[in-house]
């Protein structure tokens, strides 16, 4: 049976179809999970895609974290299941406490829509298992609140525990330590501002995101084996 990747959809999410398309191009099944459902239906991995969940009211991700599906997402993550938050999904995961720190408005208050270079800093995450540390990928970003911040202790932990997954080659938004993506302690929850699904085919201008999505599918396959063992 094909791998099943859950794609979480909040009111205001707008990248769910792009993510689903990219996943299905790689041979897995994408399954939409509605935010009001309190289950992730036994999928093998989860993606929280980009957009403006609940209109970004109050703060980005602040309302989304209380959606019923998020409890199921947290349980799935606690069991070691692969969870990737892209852009607004990253913001949701920080608000939900699944990843440390926060994302605030870009330095200079500019919305940034561009294809940027990011460096893979570790292969010890569900999104980079097949990638080569040091590799530079061209991936689009598209955000107003992508400026990663955390306190000094958290930053030290992220560095010491090899949890900075991606850094920008040229910092586009003021992010602390050029951080573009981070992982939790287990490496199974990853958040990043760049959109790998928008770099999943040469026709889109870059296929550099494919290695990341393939890594996620490999992690999903491991999860299925482990959970069914």
């Amino acid at each position: 049976m094909s791998l099943r990747i859950g794609v979480v959809q909040f009111p205001g999410t707008n990248c769910e179809l792009d993510v689903s398309w990219a996943i299905e191009e790689l041979g897995a099944d994408a399954e939409m999970l509605w935010h009001a459902d309190a289950t992730v239906r036994g999928v093998d991995a989860l993606v929280v895609p980009g957009g403006f969940a609940h209109g970004d009211y109050l703060r980005t991700g602040a309302i989304a974290r209380f959606s019923p599906v998020m409890e199921a997402v947290s349980e799935f993550a606690a069991a070691g299941g692969p969870v990737v938050g892209i852009c607004n999904g990253f913001q949701v995961l920080t608000e939900a406490g699944l990843l440390p720190g926060a994302l605030q408005k870009n330095v200079g208050l500019t919305f940034v829509c561009d294809t940027v270079e990011i460096r893979v800093e570790t292969a010890a995450s569900v999104l980079t298992g097949l990638a080569t540390p040091g590799a530079v990928l061209r991936i689009p970003i598209n955000h107003f609140e992508g400026n990663y911040v955390c306190d000094a202790d958290t930053l030290r932990q992220l560095r010491d525990e090899d949890r900075v997954v991606f850094r920008y080659v040229r910092n586009p938004n003021g992010s602390l330590d050029d951080i573009a993506g981070i992982a939790n302690v287990g490496g199974n929850v990853v958040g990043l501002m760049p959109h790998p699904e928008r770099a999943s085919d040469a026709l889109l201008g870059s296929a550099d995101g494919v290695v990341l999505l393939r890594s996620l599918l490999a992690a999903a396959a491991d999860t299925r084996t482990r959970l069914s063992a």
Binding site: R59, P100, A102, K105, V107, G108, N147, V149, D151, G174
Partner: protein, 87 residues
Amino acid sequence: MNRYEVRIDVAHLPGVLDPQGATVERALPALGYENVSDVSIAKTIRLVLDAPSVDAARAQVDEMCRRLLANPVIEQYTISLEEVSAP
């Protein structure tokens, strides 16, 4: 049961960059206001709360701030309450 009008000011934690404040601070001298510094932009949330006492009201508002209204990673908040005539 008493009724309280509550005002919550949510501001950036000291040391956390405030991009909106920084932008406004750069814009003011362009209008000739050269003597302005330390601009910060905060958010005000107003609500009405029914609670048995001012302490209970303050405790609940504090909890709501920690759980939803502010993000303690980057924000701090101050709460002011005023008792108003009950419904």
